[in-house]
């Protein structure tokens, strides 16, 4: 069994990360009734004996003593991390896993990447090494951050670079929250595009998330709950937006519901690696199957169902509905419509009581309405994990490598160019040691190249298919 380490950077990264750990504990508590520290838990948690002050050796078998998250919390402001350390999760984190500063990055990628990066490099490397040493077989780093700010965006991508240098064999999965058009941070386009270049070059897989989509999903659920029709029969803990604690005692912060969705994404992504199933889908398989060309590693994700009704009997029609929903525009975690764009590859990770025949039936049913690239007409990767998420009898995570990410990138570029043409706010960046104008031009060039690659693929959509001629054998 392998381990993964979560590196949460910046305000957004840490808030989402916090939700992740909360829900991960809940998921394992639901499955692990006997309180034994098992392989599944070890993928994200260490088990230590607190009596030896946290420096003692890890306990690999037997009862759970004290669980510590395999995580690194980085923020250049103290507020968020302090809040986490005073909250219900304080015992899950080791004080040695934190890197904080006081003044923040001022929404400036250059401050995060060049200034703090340089300053904290050794500290970060040392802490990463420590975390890796506690792992028997480290398979993946999960970075959680936002693109629009300074710390998450700048320092986050600095850490990404670091990970590639120090741990080249370990996968780097990045969950990036992209800014919306109405983002109140004026320089978010600069920060995002500068960060994109790093993601293009150093990440194995990127799961882009847009706040608007999360917001829409939260609204949808709230409307459904308040409409009175189905509200009373929904299982509270099954909401993809719900936190672990009891709803009455929990004081939910405004972004919690949205962040819970992202946390659930990560849990589902890693479920088949942690739990058994009839067709396992590990993280290295996700990277292998969904990344046909090194730079095209942006995966659009969707989670279904968003909630479960309390009645347990699930007719197969509802199961099929789950599959249909996974491809609908309102379930995607970015503003995109994969159904009307071109699929390069698609992965379906099913959890719970679903068998291969259900999977096949739905693939056959949905295939005709989807457009796949000519060289991957039947490009499906499937996984069946027996353990469902909390509150559900089954669930589905769909990951698509699809050209529908293109509009997001094009908009980003447009917003960037609007500012860049007028050289607005550039001086804030250029005054940082190590930042030059070329950083900007290279970054936007990298983004343009990426967009162009997607354009070329889109151009092949719907065109006549001429298969290349086969090798001829002399008879």
């Amino acid at each position: 069994m392998t381990q993964s380490v979560v590196v949460q950077v910046g305000q957004c990264g840490n808030q989402v990360g916090c939700r992740f750990w909360d829900l991960a504990l809940r998921e394992h508590a639901a499955v692990n009734k006997k309180g034994i520290y098992d392989e599944a838990l070890s993928s994200f948690f260490r088990n230590i004996d607190t009596r030896s002050g946290g420096d003692g050796p890890d306990i690999y078998k037997g009862k759970i003593c004290s669980l510590k998250a395999r995580a690194l919390l980085i923020d250049m402001e103290e507020g968020v991390v302090n809040e986490i350390l005073q909250g219900p999760l304080r015992d899950v984190f080791d004080s040695k896993q934190l890197i904080t500063d006081v003044s923040g990055s001022g929404n400036n990628w250059a401050v995060g990447h060049k200034l703090y990066g340089y300053q904290y490099r050794e500290n970060i490397v040392e802490k990463l090494r420590k975390t890796a040493e506690h792992c028997d077989c480290l398979q993946c780093f999960f970075i959680i951050h936002s693109m629009g700010g300074g710390t998450g965006s700048g320092l986050g991508t600095f850490v990404l670079n670091l990970l590639e240098d120090e741990f080249p064999e370990v996968y780097r999965f990045v969950t990036s929250v992209y800014p919306s058009g109405e983002d109140d941070v004026i320089t978010s386009p600069y920060n995002s595009v500068l960060a994109m270049k790093e993601l293009n070059e150093h990440a194995d897989c990127v799961l882009p998330i847009e706040n608007e989509s999360l917001f829409d999903i939260v609204n949808k659920i709230n409307q459904m709950m308040n409409s009175g029709k189905l509200g009373s029969t929904v299982k509270q803990n099954s909401l993809v937006t719900s936190s672990a604690g009891n709803a009455k005692t929990l004081q939910e912060k405004p972004f919690d519901a949205m962040n819970n969705i992202v946390a659930n994404l990560l849990l589902n992504l890693t479920s088949s690696a942690r739990f058994e199933g009839s067709l396992n889908m590990d993280l290295n398989e996700i990277s292998m199957n969904l990344v046909p060309f090194p730079r095209l590693h942006y995966l659009v994700s969707s989670l279904t169902p968003l909630y479960t009704l309390a009645d347990i009997n699930v007719p197969s029609r509802r199961l099929d509905q789950m599959f249909s929903d996974a491809f609908s525009r309102d379930h995607q975690l970015i503003q995109a419509d994969p159904k009307h764009s071109l699929y390069l590859a698609c992965a379906l990770l099913v959890r719970g009581n679903v068998q291969v025949s259900d999977l096949r039936r739905n693939i056959e049913r949905l295939k005709p309405s989807l457009h796949f690239v000519s060289w991957n007409q039947e490009g499906w990767k499937t996984g069946l994990c027996s353990v469902p998420p909390v509150g559900h009898s089954h669930s589905l995570l769909a990951l698509a490598n699809n050209t529908c990410v293109k509009p997001t990138f094009i908009e980003l570029k447009d917003r960037f160019m609007k500012l860049y043409k007028k050289k607005a706010h550039l001086h804030h960046y250029l005054q940082i040691d190590g930042m030059e104008q070329s950083c900007f031009s290279e970054a936007v060039s990298s983004l343009s190249d990426l967009i162009e690659e997607y354009n070329e693929l889109d151009a092949t959509k719907g065109g006549p298919r001429t298969d290349p001629s086969r090798l001829k054998i002399a008879v």
Binding site: M1, T2, E39, D136, C137, Q139, E276, S278, L279, N280, D282, N284, E285, S287, M288, N289, L290, V291, P292, F293, P294, L344, A345, A347, Q355, V356, S357, D358, R360, I363, E364, K367, S374, W375, N376, Q377, E378, G379, W380, K381, T382, L384, D467, P468, R470, L471, K472, I473, V475
Partner: protein
């Protein structure tokens, strides 16, 4: 003689487990429909072939379990032990932590050499536990990374370490609409490599077995377990003891050798298919009786029309008339007539000795370069198998795989032309030339089988 089974990857281990379960169930079953002495003899032969015995009488499967991640092996070991009747040897397994990531190159070029010694040690130990080694049987899928890549490597190692032993690879052909996106690459690489080191490839197609589950076994929500149980039944019907061709009361001692000698006359033609009839849910068994002529008629048509189950057979397909002119031969071809090189028919159960097998000896079923006496073989065993009063299995070396093979090679070639995913393979040492070599090998196989 004993057979050592090597289970590779998730699929290989899941299938392997069902096979041993099936063999054990049949072994213990009281529905032998034959004399006690006959039954005893059958059970002894089966035990020697597949199991070693503990002092307490418990059966231990002669198997080595290999996987690059631990979950499946630990599940397989515990499921077997829970049965109470048989289990695996606690030490006969090898696993790692990370898996192969569906990457053939990772399985073949990285895991293979790295773990060769450890794996071959386990195989050697199992082989030494046999009084007489009858050969190796491997179970694997082609679509993933471990079964396919590491499986191909291990097969090569087996060939190097045991140059005179028989090696039969059981290969699972993935569903046409993907389980794995790079399955066509993995399949092409696996098949081309196995062709060099294996004696024969016994192929089961997921799509086909799925249909059997849906239409014959009436299973509503088909799981991989269901699929694997059908496969296990089919394999069991072939590998359980049979009387040798000349008759006689003893069971044949060289199962793999017999099979390969009968079916693989030429090393260019190594791909074998399995057809078994009848197949039905266990609770229907009591309500159905069959006659041998009826069963054989269906089985023969299944062979020539390339059907894999007794429903939906195309009865229009006929073999070409003897000494046919070019035009009628091509008509037969146009109706998708499945030409055979060799066939092995295994009959088990009641009234086996009275069966007339003339229809299978018809020369028009076969290519011209073997006499029907050499191309067709039959084994009759009065002891019934797995509660079926009568069961007939046909193992054939024929053109059956042409269409699926051509389809897989075509799709892989299409993807290769766009260079998609190639960087994932070159990362681990499989270059474009290696791909081209594999394509060439398989186009050759396709060509050979087409011109039968």
């Amino acid at each position: 003689m004993s057979i050592v089974t090597v289970q590779l990857g998730q699929c290989g281990n899941q299938v392997g487990h069902e096979v041993f379960s099936c063999l054990c169930r049949d072994l213990r079953g009281s529905h032998g429909l034959c004399s006690r002495r006959e039954n005893q003899s059958y059970q002894d032969a089966c035990r020697e072939r597949f199991f070693s015995e503990e002092e307490s009488g418990g059966l231990v499967a002669r198997a080595v379990l290999v996987d690059m991640e631990p979950k499946v092996i630990s599940q397989t070991l515990s499921m077997a032990a829970r049965s109470g009747f048989w289990k695996y040897n606690e030490h006969s397994h090898f696993c790692q932590k990370q898996g192969s990531g569906n990457n053939w190159a990772n399985g073949y070029s990285v895991h293979g050499p790295r773990h060769k010694e450890a794996i071959m040690n386990l195989v050697q130990k199992e082989a030494e536990r046999c009084d007489r080694l009858g050969g190796f049987f491997t179970t694997m899928s082609m679509a993933g990374g471990t079964g396919s890549g590491l499986g191909a490597f291990v097969t090569q190692c087996l060939r190097d370490a045991f140059p005179t032993s028989f090696i039969l690879n059981h290969v699972i052909w993935p569903y046409g609409t993907g389980e794995v996106i790079v399955q066509n690459y993995n399949s092409v690489l696996t098949l081309s490599h196995l062709y060099q080191s294996s004696d024969a490839l016994l192929v089961h197609e997921n799509d086909v077995i799925h249909k059997i589950c849906a239409q014959l076994m009436n299973i509503k929500q088909i799981s991989f377990r269901d699929v694997n149980q059908v496969i296990a039944h089919q394999l069991g019907s072939v590998f359980q003891p049979t009387h040798p061709a000349g008759g006689g009361s003893d069971y044949s001692r060289n199962p793999l050798g017999d099979l390969l000698e009968a079916l693989v006359p030429h090393p260019e033609f190594k791909v074998l298919a399995l057809r078994n009839i009848p197949q039905m849910p266990e609770d229907s068994l009591a309500y159905n009786t069959f006659s041998w002529p009826g069963l054989l008629k269906h089985l023969r048509q299944m062979l020539i029309a390339n059907a894999k189950m007794e429903e939906g057979i195309d009865w229009q397909v006929r073999p070409p008339p003897p000494r046919s002119s070019i035009s009628s031969h091509s008509t037969a071809k146009a109706l998708h007539f499945n030409t055979s090189i060799a066939n092995l028919l295994i009959l088990r159960g009641k009234d086996v000795h009275s069966v007339d097998l003339g229809s299978f000896q018809d020369p028009s079923l076969y290519t011209s370069w073997l006499n029907p006496q050499d191309a067709f073989h039959a084994r009759k065993t009065p002891r019934a198998f797995n509660k079926y009063e009568k069961s007939a299995s046909l193992v054939s070396n024929s053109q059956f795989l042409l269409k699926p093979l051509d389809s897989v090679v075509g799709k892989a070639w299409n993807m290769f032309a766009s260079k998609a995913y190639i960087h994932q393979y070159t990362k681990f040492g499989i270059e474009e030339e290696d791909f081209l070599d594999s394509f060439t090998t398989l186009e050759q196989v396709i060509s050979s089988y087409t011109t039968l």
